[in-house]
């Protein structure tokens, strides 16, 4: 039973991470290849707080804010560069985070932070992670229906046209980065307390690509599709143990297949099937 609880918790954390990236890339059209860095920022910030004796809810909140504030900084970079250059900048942010953390003794360097106080049991973390994931699903669905979602869409489709009709493109991009990275910080804070041990490698480039794969395979822009993508990619290595060794190969192949045959991901595929059935 414990095993299933822990898989469910990880699936929920991945849903939070993927929906956060979907806010940035799916809704607002800004590429990010460094999402794991914000996951890490949240984890490290929350862990340091807890180790210093800060109460658990406050530690989680600090993780959310630290990730979100760094997200705003990266959002400013998104104002200067577009698309492929933004991909490289965000990838750089990921490496910068890892490089910095690995060299800092006060962050535990390569050994990470251990003995993080853990106030909840397995069921508690599962409830917290799933609750947070559900809240983020609700927020995503709401954003999509709201004028914020429409304005994100305008920015994603043509930022110059958006400017000429009075939309504050910079403000919306930064908002998207804040919301998406704050969500990653929330996942990081929960993760750090649940495992009680964090090391830099958990938040590496492969993690960023994995989150991106969840978004793209699920269907970029589609909240329900991205949730399905995150759950699927969490379960796959668990169901087929051998996949674990070839994880990147499998994700790469899946990404290629999606790009070639169904750019809308699982969501797009179902929609097409639905249309044909109707």
């Amino acid at each position: 039973m414990d095993y299933y609880v822990s898989v469910a918790t990880f699936a929920a954390l991945n849903v939070i991470l993927a929906l956060g990236l979907n806010l940035i890339s799916g809704f607002c059209g800004q590429v990010s290849l460094g999402h794991a860095a914000f996951y890490g920022l949240g984890a490290y910030a929350a862990a340091l707080c807890s180790v210093a004796g800060v109460p658990f809810p406050l530690a989680i909140l600090v993780g959310v804010l630290v990730a979100g504030i760094f997200g705003i900084v990266v959002g400013f970079a998104a104002l200067r560069v577009r698309e492929d250059f933004l991909a490289i900048v965000t990838m750089g942010v990921g490496f910068l985070f890892l490089g910095a953390v690995r060299k800092q003794p006060w962050l535990g360097a390569e050994m990470g932070i251990a003995k993080i106080p853990s106030p909840l049991d397995k069921w508690g973390y599962a409830a917290l992670a799933i609750g947070a994931a559900v809240a983020l699903v609700v927020l995503s669905l709401h954003v999509r229906r709201s004028w914020m979602g429409r304005a994100f869409g305008a920015v994603a489709q043509d930022e110059d046209a958006a400017r000429t009709i009075g939309i504050d493109v910079a403000g919306y991009k930064i908002t998207a980065f804040f919301l998406g990275t704050a969500a990653a910080g929330l996942a990081g804070g929960i993760y750090a307390h649940m495992t009680q041990l964090i090391i830099p490698d958990t938040f590496n480039f492969i993690q960023s690509i994995t989150i991106l794969a969840m978004v793209v395979i699920g269907g970029i822009g589609s909240t329900i599709g991205v949730v399905a993508g995150a759950i699927l990619l969490t379960l796959m290595p668990e169901l087929f143990r051998f996949i674990n060794d070839y994880k990147l190969l499998v994700y790469g192949a899946l990404l290629l297949l999606v790009m070639r045959f169904s750019p809308g991901g699982l969501a797009g595929l179902l929609q097409r099937l639905g249309l044909r059935l109707a």
């Binding site: 954003v143 914020m148 305008a154 489709q157 046209a161 958006a162 009709i165 009075g166 910079a170 403000g171």
Partner: protein, 250 residues
């Protein structure tokens, strides 16, 4: 009273003076035509005035306020609207949604305000009214990527109007329309002007522009060649030479 003023505007691209030391004033309520042969710098001048390009030298004033460095979205919020020569629709939105985006300025002005606003009925009604006015109401619920150019051209005008502009800058709004559509849109431009919107029109369709504009500015090789009442301007020998390319043969 002057609504828009450009003072000594210049810009060069790699040594080519696309616009050189041009000054102009647009009075409130005017319908001004900006004409000139291909490559005269009309679109570049428009871009300097609208802020898409920052001028190398010179200043732009809107109602006496220096807006040379003001971001485009702030200008749009002030009531300074423009349409692009090459249409820029939001392709994955319907024509109605395209216009609704512009009509929602009060809601989308701050992201956090936009987050708590869901209702779009008022904006949709306004968008449908504008599409009707431009004669493309039948395309309201079609995706922008699926409609012909003539529809997109007029949708762009509707989108600009949804901003409640006081100044409307139209970059070749008639290009790509057939003669009947062009006349109809030109008549609408006159109507809008009569309704109180100041309009600057860059146009290649000389027949329509001399018919509707009350004043013409002629641009040639990046500089002002002349200005005045349309028929008088078009009768000038130097303007005719500029269009017929007499200077090339001279």
């Amino acid at each position: 009273m002057t609504l828009l003023e450009g003072r000594n505007l210049s810009i060069a691209f790699g040594g080519v003076h696309a616009v050189e030391n041009v000054s102009l004033a647009v009075a409130k309520g005017e319908l001004l035509g900006l004409i000139g042969p291909n490559g005269a710098g009309k679109t570049t001048l428009l871009r300097l005035l609208t802020g898409i390009l920052p001028p190398d030298t010179g200043h732009v004033f809107f109602e006496g306020r220096d807006i040379t460095r003001m971001p485009i979205h702030r200008r749009a919020q002030l009531g300074f609207a423009l349409t692009h020569q090459i249409v820029r629709p939001f392709r994955e939105m319907t024509l109605a949604e395209n216009v609704m985006m512009a009509a929602a300025g009060e809601v989308t002005v701050r992201p956090w305000k936009a987050l708590v606003a869901v209702n779009a009925r008022r904006e949709r009604e306004r968008a449908l009214g504008l599409l009707e006015r431009l004669g493309i109401a039948d395309g309201a619920d079609k995706l922008a990527r699926n409609v012909p150019l003539g529809y997109l051209k007029r949708m762009q005008a509707a989108r600009a109007l949804a901003l409640n502009p006081r100044l409307l800058m139209l970059d070749e709004p008639l290009a790509g329309l057939n003669a009947a559509e062009a006349t109809r849109l030109a008549d609408l431009i006159v109507d809008l002007n009569a309704g109180g919107i100041t309009i600057v029109l860059v146009e290649h369709n000389l027949g329509e522009v001399t018919r509707i504009a009350r004043r013409l500015l002629v641009l040639h090789n990046g500089a002002l060649l002349g200005e005045g009442e349309p028929r008088a301007v078009m009768a000038r020998a130097d303007v005719r030479d500029a269009y017929l390319g007499a200077d090339v043969h001279a």
